[in-house]
């Protein structure tokens, strides 16, 4: 029994290790925390909630990772500083695709893309005065085609439609 527990512990460590290495989100969160001296906000039950959303949608909804920073220190940072930190952590395989600003620069959105086999991986960063939200998701071919036809609409609706596979 003790052996089984040890085996389970090793398997869990391996699983967590592989997951951490594979996730761009983890890398970006660590880089942003280190570069900007802020900590991400813990959202209770976020993981199970996102998983349940996938179950409810019959696993049609793409896998989404979400991290939110709520920190007063963010307002002292320039948008360029935030963008630099995120892009540096993402690495050269990611390309900055769209950047939008609203309310005289008070709200900034960046969309980065990367090819991931037959899917497209998307990383969205939205920065407001004291808040930075990071979203990582894989986009279906159909959704991407729709957005390619209207990149402006993509930037505006990025927060509304990322969870739908339509």
């Amino acid at each position: 029994m003790k052996g089984c527990a040890r085996l389970a512990f090793v398997a869990l460590c391996l699983f967590v290790g592989i997951g951490a290495r594979a996730s761009d989100m983890n890398r970006v969160v660590r880089a942003v925390e280190s570069d900007l001296g802020i900590r991400h906000t813990h959202i209770p039950m976020l993981g199970p909630a996102l998983f349940m959303s996938r179950v409810v949608s019959g696993f049609q909804m793409p896998g989404v990772k979400l991290t939110v920073f709520e920190d007063a220190g963010l307002s002292d940072r320039s948008p360029e500083e935030l963008q630099r930190s995120v892009l540096k952590a993402l690495g050269p395989e990611w390309s900055a695709f769209i950047k939008t600003t609203c309310n005289h620069g008070a709200e900034q959105n960046w969309i980065f893309l990367r090819e991931d086999g037959k899917k497209l991986q998307m990383f969205i960063a939205t920065a407001e005065r004291n808040e930075l939200s990071l979203i990582e998701l894989k986009v279906s071919e159909r959704q991407m085609r729709r957005w390619i036809n209207d990149t402006g609409e993509m930037a505006k609706t990025k927060g509304k439609s990322w969870s739908s596979d339509d």
Binding site: I98, K99, T101, G105, R145, I148, N149, T151
Partner: protein, 184 residues
């Protein structure tokens, strides 16, 4: 040895000339972002365009896929301002100064005195059947958009790119040979 030196000089001058023809979104445009209420920046470099083509598999996308097949990049900068006069003609000087003849030719120049809507379209290259690049400056008192399409393109297909990839809709009907600068 002297001949080698001359040949080298010719190569260097040619390389400098070729570089001078390239258009780059000027840094001062980014500074306009500070004055703008809303900005949009679309960057589709060669790698991104190739990626986009992979996702354009439908029959409906065939035309657009063919259009972007040989392009090197599509770059869009768009600014919206709260008030009139937030930007000046001088802000566009860094754009226009790169679009000089003989490499570039202004084929459309529309200036409206009534609503202040101005549009300029520049073609790169002197081949009437194929252009090597395109720059559009669309300006009205509260909005400014600069589009740079880098790469070979059939002039008759320009309209088809309008409304896609962040490119505004344009109606350009150049004749077999682009008109000279300042055409109204």
């Amino acid at each position: 040895m002297k001949q080698f030196g001359i040949a080298l000089l010719v190569i260097v001058i040619s390389a400098m000339g070729a570089r001078a023809q390239d258009f780059k979104m000027p840094v001062n445009l980014d500074r306009l972002a500070a004055k703008a209420s809303e900005t949009t920046e679309v960057t589709l470099n060669g790698r991104m365009l190739k990626l986009a083509q992979k996702f354009m598999n439908d029959e409906d996308d065939a035309e657009a896929r063919e259009l972007i097949k040989n392009l090197k990049g599509i770059y869009v900068r768009s600014f919206q301002f709260d008030s009139v006069g937030a930007y000046s003609d001088a802000d566009l000087e860094a754009v226009r100064s790169q679009l000089k003849s003989p490499a570039w030719e202004k084929v459309v120049n529309v200036r409206s005195k009534t609503d202040g809507q101005n549009a300029e379209i520049y073609f790169k290259g002197d081949n009437p059947d194929r252009i090597d690049g395109l720059v559009i400056i669309a300006a009205d008192p509260r909005e400014l958009t600069v589009v740079h399409i880098d790469g070979p393109l059939d002039p008759s297909n320009i309209e088809k790119l309008g409304g896609q990839f962040g490119v505004p809709r344009v109606e350009a009907h150049p004749k077999s040979k682009p008109a000279k600068a300042g055409a109204q």
